[in-house]
C-alpha cells in the first residue's frame, strides 16, 4: 500500500486520476492538453498509476486509451477510515479532559 501512497503523493498524478474517474477514458494527448503539461510527462504519470493498478489501458485503433481503476484505492480508503476513526477517539478523550477541568 505504500506504493499506492507514493504514487498518489504527487498532486498532478492525483489530478490525472481524478479526471479519468470523472470524465472517463482518455488518451495521453487529451490529458496533456487538459492538465497543461507535456504528453511525455503525462505518459510517465500514467505508467506510474498503471504500475500500482490505478490505471489500465487498451488500444483503440491507433490510439491508446487510459482509464481509472479505482479498486486499488480500497486499501487507501480503509486506511483513511481507520485513521480518521482513531483521531475521533483521541480528540474525544482530549475534549473530555479539557471540558472537565
Amino acid at each position: 500500500m505504500s506504493d499506492v501512497f507514493a504514487v498518489l503523493g504527487d498532486p498532478t498524478r492525483r489530478s490525472i486520476l481524478e479526471r479519468l474517474s470523472t470524465d472517463g477514458p482518455a488518451t495521453a494527448t487529451r490529458l496533456a492538453d487538459e492538465v497543461g503539461i507535456s504528453r511525455q510527462a503525462v505518459a510517465k504519470h500514467l505508467n506510474l498509476l498503471a504500475d500500482v493498478g490505478l490505471a489500465a489501458s487498451e488500444r483503440q485503433g491507433r490510439e491508446t486509451l487510459f482509464r481509472a481503476e479505482l479498486g486499488a484505492l480500497d486499501d487507501v480508503g480503509a486506511w483513511l477510515d481507520r485513521v480518521q476513526g482513531e483521531w475521533k477517539l483521541r480528540l474525544d478523550r482530549l475534549a473530555r479532559r479539557v471540558e472537565s477541568t
Binding site: S2, T22, L73, V76, R90, A95
Partner: protein, 142 residues
Amino acid sequence: MTDVHTDAEHELLIDAQPEDVWEALTSDDGLDDWLGEGTEVDPVPGGEIVTPDVVSDRPRRGQVDEVDPKRRFAFTWWPEDDHDDRSHVTITLVPTRAGTLVRVVERAAAATSTTPAPAWVDWMWRASLVSVRAQSHALVRG
C-alpha cells in the same frame, strides 16, 4: 469532481480557550489522558515520542517536527514494531467564538510529495472526511 486524496482528517470544536486545549494536548497529564498513560513527549523539534496509544492499542514511537504554542503541534510517528509505517501528523488549533477548533491531518510518509502542491489540491479542509472508497463505489454504481 471526484476528489482523490491521501490525508486522513478529523476536526472537533472544543468549548475552551486555545491555551487550555494546548495544555491538555501537550502537558504530561494531558498526554496521559488522550494518548495513554506513560506517554512521553519531549515538546521540541526533534524531541522523542513514546506512547502506548491506547486508542489504536499499538504502542508507537515518534519525533516532534514542530511546536508552535497554542497553535500547532506536528510530529512523525510509527508503530514501534514497524518503522516503515511512518506518518506525519499535524494538529492545529483555531480559535473561534464558540471555542477552539482542533484540526488533525495524518498523512502516510509514503504519500509525501516533494513537489509543492497547488493550494486547491492540498488544503481541502472539511468537517468530515468522505472516504475514498465510498467515492469509488459511487462511481462504479453511477
